[in-house]
């Protein structure tokens, strides 16, 4: 192969080649890390919540008159809502999943704070929550309506039954069956598990234990709660307006806050992740465009300044194919040196990001793809200038410029 003469000619005209390979090195470092980070965010955002989050809205309801019958209000509102057209089901909840606000408590698999323990994101609600959230039970049933605790003062113990997510069950009971098992709070009060939710995310999407959730059968005693309402697909906006009117008509003496779509709350929870993903992929795209422009620019420049040399080579017998091969090889050498430096740089940045910012370590799979990708980009960018070089006529050898 003709690598030796290409190398020596490169070494005599170092500046441009060094610049391009430096650019390729930084490009590789950025692109590999950016794609890796983006990929993580995208898969994070794409996790299923287990909830029918596109067809749910919720709002706060507060009774403020001193002697207002709060529990009666909730019961009557629910009866009204559940028969409204377009509504699949509705439930009162003290907190709403994916909203960014919630409660978490530590539970144990054995009494006296023994056995396995895990925090659980708890939601106080009634027997309609399963249908109102659109979650799937993989075993057991929802609460018996007669077991819901309608409390006027805050109780100090958890109701004796619970519906928990599979993730919480696995954290507490490992390989034992979850349904029918009993978990305990920190004062050893038992909670028997009567239903297992296949998947349900809790309040904080940024929490690594977001899928450990529990429904507990209790309503009250606070003067405010949230109504969670699930509608038939496509009916969200219509029902949101209708519900406000119907509830205030039934009882104007309380305050209804503005209803929020669960899809908006979810997006809000992931806002930082999607901002990061969007910015990083934009940067990645731009970096690739600029690098190919840079490679293209340098290759064009090289061809332009060497028309006489190319003409001479053609005149002494080099075929067009040889000229193309010469420039492609030259470009490949520059790209390769850039990629070599870039690998170290990428690993360095990846390591630094992972230690400094508690991000996961860069996976090598991305690095290999990045190297292959840049080789392709480099060759593609040099292709057109190389073809132009091949078109230089042998007669150029005899001209001056």
């Amino acid at each position: 192969m003709e690598i030796r003469p290409i190398l020596s000619s490169l070494l005599r005209n170092r500046a441009g080649a060094i610049l391009v390979s430096l650019q390729i090195a930084i490009t590789l470092a950025i692109v590999v890390n950016a794609v890796f980070l983006t990929q993580q965010r995208v898969s994070h955002i794409g996790r299923p919540s287990g909830i029918d989050d596109q067809n749910i809205f919720s709002f706060w309801v507060t009774s403020y008159e001193p002697d207002h019958d709060y529990l009666g209000m909730v019961r009557e509102d629910m009866a009204l809502l559940r028969q409204m057209p377009g509504i699949v089901d509705a439930a009162p909840m003290n907190q709403v999943p994916l909203s960014g606000s919630g409660n978490s408590t530590l539970f144990y698999s054995l009494p006296d704070k023994k056995g396995e323990n895990s925090p659980a994101n708890t939601f106080e609600t009634d027997d309609h929550a399963v249908k109102a959230l659109g979650i799937k039970l993989s075993a057991g049933t929802t609460f018996d309506p007669t077991t819901i605790k309608y409390q006027t003062t805050r109780g100090t113990t958890w109701p004796p039954t619970g519906v928990i997510s599979e993730a919480l069950g696995k954290a507490l009971f490992k390989d034992q069956p979850i349904l029918g098992n009993t978990m305990y709070d920190d004062q050893s009060h038992p909670i028997r598990i009567i239903g297992v939710i296949e998947r349900m995310q809790g309040s904080w999407v940024g929490w690594d234990k977001v899928d450990r959730t529990m429904l507990t059968p209790s309503v009250g005693p606070d003067p405010s709660t949230q109504y969670v309402i699930r509608v038939r697909p496509g009916e969200l906006d219509r029902v949101m307006a209708a519900v406000d009117v119907a509830l205030l008509k039934r009882d104007p003496n309380r305050r209804l806050d503005k209803a929020k779509k669960m899809s908006d709350m979810k997006r809000r929870g992931y806002a930082n992740d999607s901002l990061m993903a969007v910015t990083l992929s934009t940067v990645t795209g731009l970096v690739l465009v600029f690098s190919s422009l840079g490679i293209f620019g340098l290759a064009t420049f090289n061809v332009n300044t060497r028309t006489r040399q190319i003409g001479t080579r053609r005149a002494v017998g080099a075929r067009k194919r040889d000229i193309v091969r010469y420039f492609m090889t030259e470009n490949w050498l520059i790209t390769t040196s850039g990629v070599a430096v870039g690998c170290c740089l990428a690993l360095g940045i990846g390591f630094w990001l992972s230690t400094q910012y508690q991000l996961p370590r860069l996976s090598l799979y991305y690095l290999v793809s990045g190297v292959l990708g840049l080789w392709l980009v480099g060759q593609a960018a040099a292709w057109q200038p190389s073809l132009r070089a091949a078109k230089v006529s042998p007669a150029m050898a005899t001209r001056n410029t």
Partner: protein, 442 residues
Amino acid sequence: MFAYYLELALRSFKRNPGLTALMVFAIALGISVCMITLTTYRAASANPAGDRSSILFAPSIDSWDPNQSYDDRDKTLAPTMLTYRDARALYASGIPDRKVIMYKSGGTYRRADKGMAPQYFATRMTTADFFAMFEVPFLYGGAWDAKADAGPDPVLVLSKKGNQEAFGGVNSIGKTVLFKNREFRVVGVLDDWEPMPKYFDVSNGAFQDLEDAYVPFSWGQVMELGSHGNTNCWKTEVIDSFQAFLNSECISFEAWVELRTAEKQRAYREFLDNYVVEQKKHGRFPRPLNNYLYDVDGWLERNQVVQDDNKAMLTMAFAFLAVCLVNTVGLLLAKFLNAAPSAGVRRALGASRRDIFWQHLTESGVVALAGGMVGGLLGLCGIWALRAWYGRFVDEATRALPFDEANFLICVAIAIAAGIAAGLYPAWRIGRAAPASYLKVQ
């Protein structure tokens, strides 16, 4: 001479408009990405306490679980909030020049004359010094006094927004509102005030909305107003009443002290240690003595107000700028070398190497300036677009992405500095070229 160089530069741009545009665009894009990330970063890393930052302190004392540290990330750190008992005890100290204890609560506000639609107001339960300590501006009236704290007197301060909603924005001093069915008299209305980040309460979110009303702390106990912010507990305790909650080891209260001299700061640290040692005798504070007193900068850092994402993005943005600049160096070099013959002629006619160098550096400076301006504008457009996009579901978008002239100027300055740095090598290289070789072939 400079004007002549400028003219030469413009003429050179006309010769290769495509290449020039590419260079300007490269710098512009690099700068705009930097500007967007720098905007978020600077917004998060700002310290609104200004020069009071070094005399305002947040105490952090380790009242946490003996078996588990408070912070998973750094096990040496103590909780960022206080128990009710500790908040009260710290407030009793006479050392600080000013002191405040507080927590976040809220409830329904309305007017007895039904002049206001009942509304939830996030409410800061706090003490009299709050307003002076954090330099809160008043539109009408002023803060309540220490006597009102002790009473507690039924007085409150409304934010400008709260006053707008309760009284339509008129001077409401002396008027009354019902907060959870109890009558309170308005003694002050705040002017526009939006410290960013909300440094005095980062535990409940550094970019959260400010409260609509401020009520004397002691009403919390009287009216049994629970925390509407974060509450963390570790101990097995039966909490069956509000009083039991106040006596528990649950933390949701915050304290700040103003300590103007180093002596007072030392004394206060000593006070904290003595307090904890004293409490240990009563069986509290089971962990080793581990107290901190943070100034505002330290507090923002301890609470990681600047998120890791912000830092990672800033790193990426500057790496991107680096690619754009290396690209520009390459393009400038190619452009200058292409035009080398005319530089050779200038040299032959008597221009010194230095003249050639300055001429080309001027050219790259102009490219950089244009890139910086275009980049700044692109950055503004980018911020505007992001705000429009995120503003639909994140109220904090405007606070996290503020329009800020300073950022624009910083970016243009970075662009010019970087562009000139990028031009140094090509300009030097072209200045060094021997004129003879170019003249020969002409």
